[in-house]
Each structure stands twice: as structure tokens, then as C-alpha cells.
Symmetry: D2
Subunit: 340 residues, 4 copies
Amino acid sequence: MIKVAVNGFGTIGKRVADAVSAQTDMEIIGVSKTRPSHEAMIAQKRGYPLYIADISKKESFEKAGMKVAGTVEEMVRAADIIVDATPGGVGAGNKAMYEKYGKMAIWQGGEEHEVAGYSFNSSCNFADARGRQFARVVSCNTTGLCRIIKLADTAFGVKKVRATMVRRGADPGDAKRGPVDAIVLNPVTIPSHHGPDVQTVLPEIDIVTTALVVPTTFMHMHIIQMDLKETGDRGKFLKMIADHPRIGLVKGYTGIKSTAELREYASDLGRPRSDLWESCVFEDSVSIVDGKELYLFQAIHQEADVVVENVDCIRAMTGGASTAEESVAMTNRALGFETI
Amino acid sequence: MIKVAVNGFGTIGKRVADAVSAQTDMEIIGVSKTRPSHEAMIAQKRGYPLYIADISKKESFEKAGMKVAGTVEEMVRAADIIVDATPGGVGAGNKAMYEKYGKMAIWQGGEEHEVAGYSFNSSCNFADARGRQFARVVSCNTTGLCRIIKLADTAFGVKKVRATMVRRGADPGDAKRGPVDAIVLNPVTIPSHHGPDVQTVLPEIDIVTTALVVPTTFMHMHIIQMDLKETGDRGKFLKMIADHPRIGLVKGYTGIKSTAELREYASDLGRPRSDLWESCVFEDSVSIVDGKELYLFQAIHQEADVVVENVDCIRAMTGGASTAEESVAMTNRALGFETI
Amino acid sequence: MIKVAVNGFGTIGKRVADAVSAQTDMEIIGVSKTRPSHEAMIAQKRGYPLYIADISKKESFEKAGMKVAGTVEEMVRAADIIVDATPGGVGAGNKAMYEKYGKMAIWQGGEEHEVAGYSFNSSCNFADARGRQFARVVSCNTTGLCRIIKLADTAFGVKKVRATMVRRGADPGDAKRGPVDAIVLNPVTIPSHHGPDVQTVLPEIDIVTTALVVPTTFMHMHIIQMDLKETGDRGKFLKMIADHPRIGLVKGYTGIKSTAELREYASDLGRPRSDLWESCVFEDSVSIVDGKELYLFQAIHQEADVVVENVDCIRAMTGGASTAEESVAMTNRALGFETI
Amino acid sequence: MIKVAVNGFGTIGKRVADAVSAQTDMEIIGVSKTRPSHEAMIAQKRGYPLYIADISKKESFEKAGMKVAGTVEEMVRAADIIVDATPGGVGAGNKAMYEKYGKMAIWQGGEEHEVAGYSFNSSCNFADARGRQFARVVSCNTTGLCRIIKLADTAFGVKKVRATMVRRGADPGDAKRGPVDAIVLNPVTIPSHHGPDVQTVLPEIDIVTTALVVPTTFMHMHIIQMDLKETGDRGKFLKMIADHPRIGLVKGYTGIKSTAELREYASDLGRPRSDLWESCVFEDSVSIVDGKELYLFQAIHQEADVVVENVDCIRAMTGGASTAEESVAMTNRALGFETI
């Protein structure tokens, strides 16, 4: 059993903890939280030992009825590998601690590539993770881009990618961030940083991205166009999507045309937290224009798609599976996850 | 086993079907749908026989891979009792069919009280349902008002209620209804119809209500003020809420101050579809002003709170339980439902 | 003085009426409304004679204190030219009436190109309008696309255009339409109809468009990419935009990065109804990638950009100006309109 | 001519500057800004001398083409009176500077009552301002409450007020603040601070308030209930509202039922920045229940209603008018302001 600690039990951390916990070859030995909160209570309910960075706050946890197992440093020592899901930019500061105790660690996409020196996506570069001490699971948007670009590249060869990310303003549980009634260019400059981020995983891909933020809470929407090397074949590509273990196909007959309807579907399917771990490609949008231009819309659940990647990354680094196919199948099976 | 049919497998109907299905003393013998859609597919996955009103559409269902069990009329004949969850105003038109086959039926709050001649709330008038052919489970807002008013009335006597309902604009899965950026008076006139609707269950209560709509999707927020007959006791009332099987207390230490954070909590708790079947009273808001005025905020999950009431109403009408306490306990246990 | 009637005094109609009224060579002889409302009251205040389609409703107008000048048919007879700003799809039905009285008419982009057989944009095909009885001013999005594509084509030659329209869900004064919390693919299929609509004005342009709807009220945002025939020159193109009488440049030093901040700016400038008649190109977004790919963001005020086009179209059809430059200058001067 | 400086040329400050500038008995001698921005450019266009707190930033203004007149301290010295419209909490820190130069100053409602020791509302306590060095114009919500409570108290005597404020989440030009999809209790505790704030102007009034925040940008909505000393008379009260120079009546026949439609109306009326300086009471909502309970909805434009109060407050303090009626009439006339 691989002993996993989750440093930062927030939006991503709590999902990774549940997903790791569902696997048969790994276990959660602790999670960390800075303040008592409803999430700390959930950790308690799930039976995850609760560690805190600032031990002087122990009393405030105990007053709220929560047991503190120790400090974050103690948690790190007890683990084989740490999934660092602290807020973007904070994780880099934890590297020294992981190095001090000689532990493996995985950061999220909020950190720079350089923190780990290696960026991971299970559909693209699983094998390269073997034997590394550090890795970074790329952001939700980059994960979604990597999966579909790799697939199209395998199918027809990809000469150039142009993609726009229409991003959600706040997560569903966030009552503070906006905007309320605005489309925000983020950034105003073109191209955005997402293209170079894809290249940390797929260095050969020529890609230009743009990004904006809108007042929604659930899923980013990608408008993707790819110049293909060979003439595209819509039927073939749809079949490849349907067969991909991390990309789902939103069928036309479901009538689903929006992120809201997709959430309802995930919720009706009984997915925990309505999570869509798969990229969701809209079947009716997949088009080949002028033979060599592929177009499609895909929706990316910002809280979920990287969760399964973290589980795979743990196996890739520790040697818990020898191929991506094997690990992805193990992860999906343990979660009862069949793509839509 | 009570044989239950759900006519209208939408927002409420699909939840009632799942809740009925989880009970040990009743079963779903069929659900109806007018069109193939992602919800029809869910019915199929759950193993609920799918009936359709217009048999000429059978082929369109079959083309989408869904088996049609027969017509709605056949479903009605096969059932002991029908939960009518068709859209507001449509249900009344089905009464003749239920009468023709001598079946019991339950309508939702979108229909007028007069359709059934009896309006139900398990915390208020369970016993009166016994032996009736028809009942109406009051709307989500009225259900929420009835629960808390009855509780306060039991505790201190209620002289007068003033309540404002700040309503969500669209359900989470609805991508059409607005508003986008507006507070809408609905209705402009004061008082709104919610007061008289409460009186269909609690005829003695003096109540004035106002209502408006805002651009959110999850939960209505109630601002409630009650003039009490006796001096109020905050501690006592908080304890009564904590003990109530259908009212939850949002504790201060959770840091939850909004509907978004409440949804996150429900989702983290693993509730199916993030459903909050209980009224959610904010602990820190419960106040006694000038001795005899009670104030509080409560949030009502518009898709969920009536679901458990429908299950109780089935038992109340069929004699499946002899008291409200018994039925509520059975319903909650089967759902694994403990209030927050 | 050209006698102009505005059939349909709503979002576009009221703005066209005010813009026509501000010109020295044309006048408003009447506007039409179907119901007494705040907008009918505004027509009254502005001194526009109020005509109604259904004369039986005269009394309801008079009860609200509004004078009715006659029927829509009487208004048409009194006019030289009618600007038809009735809701999309309704305008086509009025064609017979305009033909019966031999009047010139201009429809909006909600009607099909075939209704008029000629689609107008003052920056592209002003001269072709001369002598026509009927014209159609293309929609706000198509207007915005035509202006910038024509400019780039003039500068560097345009080989191919790829554009995404992120559209507002409801107009600012609309309290009904949504969505509340959804990104809606509209349409799901690719390409959208906007490309062919551009080709009604610029038939030689190769263009593929996609469109989605988000929960905002003010402005559509366009993400535009153009393959150029010649190597692009950013400085030259920025200068051409700055010099264009219908395209404005949102300067970097203003700090404006969103539609909300743009509205604030329009409002601070004292623009009537905060109207942005110009396309608003974000200076910092204008980029030349790999020499021959032009990228930019532009925001289009859906209520305003076609208003000035209608005024020009009146002149183009009636011969009130001999060139686009002359008419555009007259229109802008009368409105005190200098681009941002 | 009273020489007025506006310290803080933001949402409120820029409006106060324009309103002061429109008066015949006062003039703007300077406004301050901390950074070059679109608002600084607007100040420049209006001809308001631009002062800056940190003179080392002079160059950054000049690079953006804006002339800097001097430091804030120099502006203060040149003024008779300063309207401090710096962000909430910042203004208090400027008091020492105003004292140092012996200048009169007016703060906004974001500061505590204690900063000035006197809180102003032109409909309630105009005369008390005479001769004071410092005053505070109460917040937009408190201003709206004071106006209507004072009116009802004059008409029928007010025994008790219960009011709920449904607040906008962000201003129209703000692209950062949320919430996106949440109703936020702000504060969770009852009562909110608004009641005591009303009592800084109307100390005799018994009032309990609650407040929440929703995802809209334009106007707060108040649900107000008052226990009256005498039996209420709806017709009489409607007439008193119609006659009030700072309260408007949203007539039923306009069809306006929401904040969005109210904004459209203000915009159609040609109001600068669509500003509604008046409280907007919905005619159809005004109700007398059980003889002695008055109910109504009123909408308050958060950016505008205090602007005219600031102008009156300047006159009240400097003796520029001897009665509230006189000042209010002067202010309104200069703005061309007739209530809706």
C-alpha cells in the first residue's frame, strides 16, 4: 500500500483524498487543513487523520469537535508521497520540506513547471514519471487540452492548434469571487499562457491560446480548432473519443447544450460531488472543415479532471503500474468511473 | 409493497422515484417521460419502467436505445398510487384519469389546493391524510415555512408571521430561464400568495409574505420574523431545531454564510444530487428581539425538501405508518438521512 | 428632410429614432408601439408621434396619458422610408404593407437576407444601396465582424477568418431571459450561421464562426483570428483602427479589461444610454503571430453598433450622401460621436 | 461660489463632482486620483484639476497624457470644503489633514458616524448641519431608509420598522467582486448594522434590519414593513411620495417590476450615467395590511442617491441655503432632476 498524504484539503485536495482512498493499492495517511471549517469536519467524517501547519491552532479545532493528529511536518514524515494541493503559489514553498525528508511529491497546475521540472498527463507522458521524486499534474485546462490534442495527433497528425478557454469565474462553493455581469479578458494579451503550458507536456505542438472569464461556476468551455497533417475523418475521431478512458462524448440525443445541463447529468448519474473526471466533447460540435481543419467544443470540470490524473501520477512515479493503460484502468475501475 | 408510479420524471419526479425506491415498504412500478432525453436515459439506468403519454413517439425513444413499457394510462392502471410531478398546472388535467381508474394520487405545489382538497405537510397534518384518495404536497417554500412556523408555534405560540422569500431564478440544470442581472419583484403586489398557501396547511396562522427573484440557481432564502405569544428562548428553540428530523442547523463554526457554501457542504457530505431535504436554519441568525420577536434566516433547497414529504404522504394516505414520527423515521432511515 | 418612421420602438428602434432625430437632413415622423409601457412614455416625452397597429388598444394608451396619432398603416403612408425594428422574424411580415404604399424600408439583422435581397454595412458596401427600395442592416455581430475584416483585408489581404462570438444572455433591461449560471453552446454545431451572414456583405471572405452564450447583459466579445495574405504590421493596423470612424481602440493605460469596465467608461463619457456605437478593439490584444496570423479581441455593444448603420443606410438608399465617408462623418458629427 | 474639492474621484466622487459642477453657487476646484486610469482621463476631459497623493507618480500620469495640478494637500488648502469620497475606512485617516488646514469636510457612509460626530440626510436633519466643520452623509441604504421612514412618520407616526436589504454584489463597472451564483447572508447575524445607522439620523425610530447580497450590479432592493401609530391611508401616502422631491413612484402602467427595467427607464430618460438619485418606490407594492401595517418595496441606486445629499450637505454646512426645501429645490433644478 502506497502511503499518501494530501497537503491542503480544499477543492482539489478533498477529491484526491477520496479518489486515493477508493484505490486498492494506496491509502490516505493524513490530510492537512489550516482552519476548522466544514471541510475539516468532512475529513473527520471520512476518517482521514487531520494535520495542521500551525499547532497553536490545535485548540480551535478541538473546540469545534475535531481531533488533530499532529503537524504537517509529522504527516510528511509518515508518508511515501505527498500530493500538494495547497493554493496556487503556496506549494512551491513546501518543496524544501519534502526534500528534507526525502519524500516524493506531486504539485498541481497552480505551480510553475520548474518547481517539479516535469509536468504530467496520463494520456501523454506516463512513462517519463518513473523514478522521479517530483512531478506536477498540469492544470485542469491544460489537462483537457493535452488529452484531445494527443488524440487528434495520434489520429491525423496536428500541425497547429488554436484554442479559446471560456473560464468559470468562481467555483460552485465560492461566494466571494466574481464577476457578476462581465466578460473579463484574462489576459487581455494574446496568446495566453495556456499554450506554453501545454508544451510542458507536448513540446512539439504548435499552439496559440486565448482566455476569458465569465460569470459561471461550473466547467470551462474550450473552443478548439486544429490544423491537421492528414485529411480528418469525423466518424473515426468520434469513435476514438468514445473509446478514450478519459474523454466522454455528450451525445446529441441527450439534448445537452450547456454546462448547466451537463452538471445535471453528472448529478443524475450519481457521480460524487457531480464530478466529471472526463473531458466532455460535444458530439454535434465535432466537425471537419475543408478536409484538414478539426473543430470542437469541449467542457472541462475545473474541480475534477485532474483528480484522476493525480492518482495515475502516484502510480507512475512509484511504479505501481507499468503502463498508462494499466493505471488508468485501475483508477477508473476503483471509482466505478465509466465515461459519459 | 405499495406500488408507486411517478407521472413526470423531471426535477421533482426523478428524486421522488429514487427516494421511493430506497424505501423497504414501497416500489416504483413506472415513471413517465414525454421525450427521449438524458433523464429518460437515467430512468432506464435505474431500471424504472418507462411509460410515455404519446405512444406514437415510441420509435424516437427506441432509436435512442430506450425501452418503452407502455402508455401512461397503462402505468396508472398498474399502480396503487400515483405521484404526479408533471409541470405546474398540467397535473390538474390528469385528475380525471386517476378518478377513472379509482387510483390515489398526490400532486405537487404547482397545482391549486382545490385539485386535491387537502394539502399535506408531514410535520403539521400527517394524520388528516388517512383514507383520502387525493392529496397535494405543498410547494418547497410553503413546506419550509410550515415546518418552522409549526415548531415555533409549538414552542412559544405564534401570533403573526412576516416572511420574505428571496427565490432562485432558475434550477441548476436550467440553461434558459433568467434573470441575468436583476432583482425581480414576483409579485410586485404585497402580500404574495405564499401566506394563503401556508394557511392551506396551518389555517390558524396569521401570515404576510413577500417574494422576489434573484439570479441564482440553488436554494431559496427566507427571512422570517414571528411575533410570539410567549417570551422566546433562543437556547430552547435551537435545541428544538437540532432535534427536528426535517430541519437542520447550519452551525457557526462551519463558516457557512451562503447558499453556495451550503451546496458545497451537501456535496461533500455525499448527498445524492447534493440534495438538502431538510430546511437549513442558520444558527447565528436565530435571534429573539425585544423578548417576543423571533428572527431567523433559513435556506430551502427547491428541488429537494418536498421529496421526503411525498414519501411520507404516500404512507399517510395508504396507512403505511400510523404516525408522522414513524413515517418520517422510516423515510429518513432508508435514505441514510441525518439532518446537518 | 427625409421623413423617417420607426416601426417598433424597442431596444433598437428607440435608439434609431433618437439618432435620426439628431441628424439635420432627416426627421422622425412617427414611431409604433403595441402596448402602453415605459417606452411608449419615452416616445411621448421625445415628441415622437405614437402609432399603434391595433387601433382597438387606443383607449389603453389614452388611459395611461399617451396620445395616439393613428395606425401603423397611416404612419407608413406619411413616411419616405421605414426603419423596421420589430422583433426578429416579425419584420418580414410587414413587407407587403411597405410594397403596397411603395415605400422604402430597412430591416434589421433578425430578418433573413432574402427579405431585402441586399445586406448593408457602411464600411463595406455603401454605394450598392443607392436606388434600392429595400435593405437590411446586418446584425450587431455581423456588423462588428464586417468592419474589422474589411479593415484587415484592406491592410494585408485576408485569406481566412476564424471567429468565436461570446454572446450576452439578455439585454440590460431584460429581466426574464437567462441563463443564470451556464455557458450555452448556441448553436452546438460548428460552424455557426454568423460566417454566412458576413458573406451577405463580404461574399469573397472565407470565414468559420462559433458562438456561445454566457450570463451577462452588456456586449458580445469576439475572439478573432485571421490568416493574412501579406505579413502583418501591428503598428500600422493599430493606426488604421485609431483612424476608423466606427472602430475604437481600448487603450492599455485605461486599465479596461472587461465589458463591465467598458460600460463604465461609456457611461462616464456621457454617451446617451451608455451606447458604444463603435466596435471596441482591445489595443493590448492586437497581435501578429508567426508573421501572417492576426489575433484580437473586440467587444460589440449589441444595442448600439447597428444604430449608426441604420442612419447611414437611410442616406445610402435615398442619395442623402454620395459616399460612405460623407455619410459616416455626417452621422457621427450630429451625434457628437468620437470613437474611444 | 463655494470652492469644493473632491478627494477620491471614484464611483461616488465623480458623480458628486459633476453634480457640484452643475450648481450655480459652487464649483469644483480639484479632484484627486491615485493612479492614471479611465476615470482620471474623464476628470481631465471635464476640466477638473487633477491632484495626486503621491507626487512621485506624477510621471506615470503625464505619460498617459494627463496634467497633474499638484498634491492632495495643495488641493485641500485651495478648497473651502472637501467631499471625501475615498474608499470606506480610508477617509477617517484624512481627518487630521482637514483639521490642520481648518477646512470643512464631508465623509461618506463607509466611515463611522464618530468620524464626523454628525450624520446628515436632507429630508431629516438639514438644519442641524449649520456651522459644523464636519459631517457624514449616510450610506445609500441608510439614505433610502431615512427618506421613507421620515415620510411615513410624518404621515401616520411610526412605531416600529422592520426592513430587509437585498443588496447588489458588485457595482456595474466592477469586474472582480462576486458572488456569481450565491445568496450571501451579510451579516448572518440579526439584526444588521443598518438599523443603528438609521438611528444616527433618526434616533427615535425603533428599527430592526436584515441584509443579504445577491449576484446583481444595479440597485439594492428594500422590503420595508412599518407598524404605524395611526391607521394608514394608502392614497394619502402615495400622494405624499409623488410630491416628495427625492422619492419617485414606479407606476404600475409602466410594467416595471425589476431593477433591470428601472435601469432601462433611467437610461431612456437620458439621466447621466443612468443615475436614479431618488428612492424608487413601487406603486403597486404600497399596501396597508390590517389598518396599521405599511408594506412596500423600494429600490435604491447605490451609486446615486447620496450624490444629491452631498450637494445639499455642502449648502447646509456653509449656509448656502437656509432650509432643506430651498437647497433640495436648487440641487434638483440645477440637475434638471424631476423624480420619476
